[in-house]
Amino acid sequence: MKPLDPRLVRTARAVRVHLAVTVLCGTAATGLVLAQAGLLAHTIAGATAGAGAAELSGAIAGVAAVALARALLSYGAETAALRSAARAKSELRTRLVDHVTGQGPGADGAASRPSPGAAPGDHDPGPVWLSGQTGPDGTGTPRAGELVTLATRGLDALDDYFARYLPQLVLAVLVPLSVLVVVAGADWISAAVIAVTLPLIPVFMALVGWHTQARTQRQWRLLNRLGGHFLDVVEGLPTLAVFRRAKAQAAIIRRVTEEHRRATMGTLRVAFLSALVLELLSTIAVALVAVEVGLRLMYGQLDYETALLVLILAPEAYLPLREVGARFHASMEGVAAAEQVFAELDRGGPAGARPAAGATAEPVPGTRERAPLLRLADVSLRYPGRSADALSGVSLTVPPGRRILVTGPSGSGKSSLLALLLRFAAPTSGAVLVSDPDRPGEVPLERLAVAEWRSRIAWVPQHPYLFDASVADNIRLGAPDADLAAVRRAAVLAEADGFVGALPQGYDTRIGERGARLSAGQRQRVALARAFLRDAPIVLLDEPTAHLDPDNAAAVRRAVTRLLAGRTALVVAHDRGWSDVVDETVRLTAGRIETDEARAGARTGGAEAAP
């Protein structure tokens, strides 16, 4: 980890401005340190030589002026640093969000309204969720949480880096060098002592640092395990209580915490060595300089003012180094966060899923009222980094208005089928072809304008994501301009009007993060209302009633039956309980469509299971 990441400087303009301001402030601060030392030495020596307050008033006023100037400089530098930090964080955050959502500056217009000239791949969905893990739970990926933390708390650690670390880093270069020059002009022996000890400090610290790191890494697993034990036990308290082990654990907690203490202290004994070296070298050097200057002063080889100047300046040469050392670890968290952002930016979109740039988008066959004909021709899909196909050799024709139930055990590729149609994923081989039933000519799905294509689809995932907004705005997701009457109509069709009406502010009620105010069944019905309001000719449903209690499942079934009427639909469900509302059932096993005979068997099985 570098103290100053060049990418950080290149990326954020705010960082460059900040660096310039910091160097300026650092130079001024160095000048003030030297001025203060000179003025103090001059005044003390002068007063000792018998000069009165009147003669020294200039120097004394100078000390006051330096004090004021240093205060203003500290205030200004800190304020400027925090302001730059805020801006730099914002720049990094914006780039990160643009990158992971695929909403880069160039994609804005095309995303909402595809123009004929827009490249079909313009709306690159980004890597956050298009990683083959959108799969069964449907809501983002585990990395989403990581990214949120990175963009907020992670980047906040840059405050320390900008406001405390970088200024000290500048001072740690400027002050020792200037002090050395001034001291060398006054007393070369002291300068030699400082010149020899100063470089030893970084050298020793680096040596100790490496040693510590190696040792800590060896102990890391142990420390991590011991450190996590208490959390594990507290989280498992109900389980421990059930098995009457709760009381016995207290002794174990003490023992493990003791082990943790011993292990940590072992690491700390080494880790604190770097601070020991720093303090020892700096204070011993000051002591050596003081004694040396004192003796030369006694023998008359040096005057009092010079001796004082050297004594006052000597500790100043080491102070910034100590500060940098003390702030190194805290600020490196910010640098680590910035590096993570860069790693994320470098990750890039999934190239395979994108057609060649410059290809023209073709108009979507069919209309908003009339579904096109869909044909999957020998489609295989393998997610990057996987060893097996999620779908292999799937062929399926979906004429307009056909409602198909896709069943199969989990992991059989049911959700991947929907992902293909939504263009969340592109076939590894084979093609999804779209055509207008009344006109000849099929167009591969990936050549269509993606936003317009998706506007023909209403998708209800297994775990629909509800936003921290009002119920009405959640229903309006795909139709932001719909009026409240339309929203209500959709909610009535989705069996949601009843419970929404019972909420304190009805359709204006904010439903909390991820719709936390609503039950799973209610969330499902809000998502169905979304689909009704979208009024799209193609409907894709993923496990509409899994995990719901019977009351909610019944309401969702009624709504789904209504939604499927007159539309083309693919319903993914692991059970065959839906067969009475669809025209056809397809069974997927390990990414393949089962043969007709097997399907016939499955149908009979389904009939038997129904009460």
Partner: protein, 593 residues
């Protein structure tokens, strides 16, 4: 409520400790380790003192040398200077080791106290959310932070600051006073003022950051929904707006946060200036010699190192205090389950579990979570309690697991009230799989042996076979010694549930309670796990089973079903009886297809 062997439920709780300052209470937790902390403070004072004294003694050395005395006059100062040069580094190192060690020892005390309190208070409801648990754990660990960073530096500053002021006062009384004022301002007033000033910006930024965080969560977690519905650009715009607002607030408030740095620099500079002014006047007036004059000014210059660690302490105190408040909130909570004063013994034999008129609520003003529930689990039978979420099912489980006392009514096991048994004895008789059973970050063997510490591998394998997990475990390279990872993350959801079942079977309770054993499983795993659970339960000898579920799957295989809603039993009977009746159960079955 008349329960033999128990005093009235309204028996006076031990009075809660007076609401004292949480910071002081946190520090009081360190009292058993007082000697170590005192040693730490002494070492710290020696280190800081050595740094200040080094410059003071050096000033004396120079001022004396300037008068060209014989070399012997300087010898003591020369030795002292060199000694001080070594002292500071060594004592600082020792101080850090001693205080960290003491803080860790205190942490062990505090963790045990927090844990014991949690174990005796209701372990489920209040701390169910994972966020709350991890916050509680970090609150506990905040004690360590307070002791290392918040206790020693101020004490060291008081000791060394006092010494520096005393020396300066001896040299020149007004100079000493000036230094005292300067140190108090820079070490106390400015950090506190900065902390208070920082609260406004902190609050404003927290609000803005919260908005940003919510917008980000919605955008990233909801990405598939947003993209599918063509709403991603709007979501990103919302993130941009939130980000712009946060940046605006942070930039506007930067000036307030810069106050501390500026004020400290000003006070330091002005104190040195004042010392210089006073000293020059005193020297000119003949009341101060040249040597003490130099010592005075340079000591004043060096003395501000004493208060340098304090501003970060003050800035953190608010957060640490909040941690302390939450921590003592837990430590002051009275137990939710009382041990009986005159415990009874459970008679031998296969007991019949009878719940009669059970009522529970979570506060005097809240609705009844269970409102007069009667149910029976005869010996050897499998009984299911079915109901929608919020019906009171988990409350029933927590009463049966003895996580809380009933407010009215009784749970009788073979005629003995569960609350008349020692808590652990009740849990030996009624046990099973709690909701979201925890899998500990350890080996499979350790996770299993939780339920029966002395169990040999044969018993473990037998339990695994009954839970249909044995073949999976055999396939693992380390078999029973497989590390399952934090929360059992290296196991699938179905395997975790089977592990929990195997554990419950090992405990061999007389009544096996399974609370939502198939929650969070995907539909295939759910049906398989449920089938195996019911088979294992039916095969368990001398054991009756109570299955609590919201799911109709497998209910045709249980002996009796109670349907509860809003805390009451709305209907009960066998699967066939309930299907024949025009009630909730039949409606639910019809709806599920």
């Amino acid at each position: 409520m008349t329960r033999p062997g128990r005093t009235a439920p309204a028996k006076p709780r031990p009075p809660a400790p007076a609401r004292r300052e949480p910071l002081l209470r946190m520090i009081a937790l360190a009292r058993p380790r007082g000697a170590r902390f005192a040693l730490g403070v002494l070492l710290g004072a020696a280190a800081t003192g050595a740094g200040v004294a080094l410059l003071g003694v050096a000033a004396w050395l120079l001022a004396t040398a300037a008068q060209h005395p014989p070399i012997t006059a300087l010898s003591v100062a020369v030795v002292a200077t060199r000694a001080l040069g070594v002292t500071r580094g060594v004592t600082r190192y020792l101080e850090r080791l001693v205080t960290h060690d003491a803080a860790f020892r205190t942490l062990a005390d505090v963790r045990v106290r927090v844990y014991q309190r949690l174990a005796s208070t209701e372990p489920v409801r209040r701390f169910r959310s994972g966020d709350l648990v991890s916050r509680l754990v970090s609150d506990t660990d905040a004690t360590q932070d307070l002791l290392v960073r918040g206790l020693t530096p101020p004490l060291v500053a008081v000791v060394t600051g006092g010494a520096a002021v005393a020396v300066c006062t001896a040299l020149l009384a007004p100079g000493g006073l000036l230094l005292a004022a300067g140190l108090l301002l820079a070490g106390l007033a400015v950090p506190l003022a900065a902390a208070v000033l920082g609260r406004g910006p902190g609050r404003r930024q927290a609000v803005a950051r919260g908005e940003l965080s919510t917008a980000l969560v919605d955008t990233l977690y909801g990405a598939p929904d947003l993209v599918a519905y063509g709403a991603m650009d709007r979501a990103v715009q919302r993130v941009r707006r939130a980000d712009a607002e946060l940046t605006r607030v942070a930039r506007r408030d930067a000036g307030i946060l810069g106050f501390g740095a500026g004020a400290t620099a000003l006070i330091t500079g002005l104190t040195v200036w004042g010392a210089l002014l006073l000293g020059v006047a005193a020297v000119a007036g003949g009341t101060l010699d040249a040597i003490p004059f130099a010592v005075l000014v340079l000591t004043a210059l060096a003395a501000f190192e004493i208060v340098a660690p304090l501003p970060p302490v003050a800035a953190r105190l608010g957060a640490v205090r909040a941690s302390g408040e939450r921590l003592f909130d837990v430590l002051d909570t009275p137990p939710a389950v009382d041990e009986p004063e005159h415990p009874r013994e459970l008679p031998a034999g296969e007991p019949h579990l009878r719940v009669r008129g059970l009522r529970v609520r979570y506060g005097p003003d809240e609705e009844w979570a269970l409102d007069g529930v009667d149910l029976d689990v005869p010996p050897g039978r499998t009984v299911a309690v079915l109901g929608p979420s919020g019906a009171g099912k988990s409350t029933l489980a927590s009463v049966l697991f003895r996580f809380r006392d009933p407010d009215a009514g009784s749970v009788l096991l073979g005629g003995t009230d569960l609350t008349d048994l020692p808590v652990d004895e009740a849990r030996a008789a009624v046990s099973g799989v709690p909701q979201d059973p925890h899998v500990f970050a350890s080996t499979l063997r350790e996770n299993l042996r939780l339920a029966r510490p002395g169990a040999g591998d044969e018993e473990l394998w037998a339990a695994l076979r009954r839970a249909r997990l044995a073949s999976d475990v055999e396939a693992m390279p380390d078999s029973l010694d497989t590390e399952v990872g934090s929360h059992g993350s290296r196991l699938s959801g179905g395997m975790r549930q089977r592990l929990a079942l195997a554990r419950a079977l090992l405990a061999a309770p007389r009544v096996l309670v399974l609370d939502e054993p198939t929650a969070h499983l995907d539909p295939d795993a759910r049906d398989a796990v449920m089938a195996d659970l019911l088979a294992a339960a039916a095969a368990a000898e001398g054991c009756s089973t109570l299955l609590i579920t919201h799911d109709l799957a497998g209910l045709d295989r249980v002996d009796h079903i109670y349907v509860i809603a809003d805390g009451r039993v709305v209907e009960h009977g066998s699967h066939a009886e309930l299907l024949a009746r025009d009630g909730w159960y039949r409606a639910a079955h019809t709806a599920a297809g």
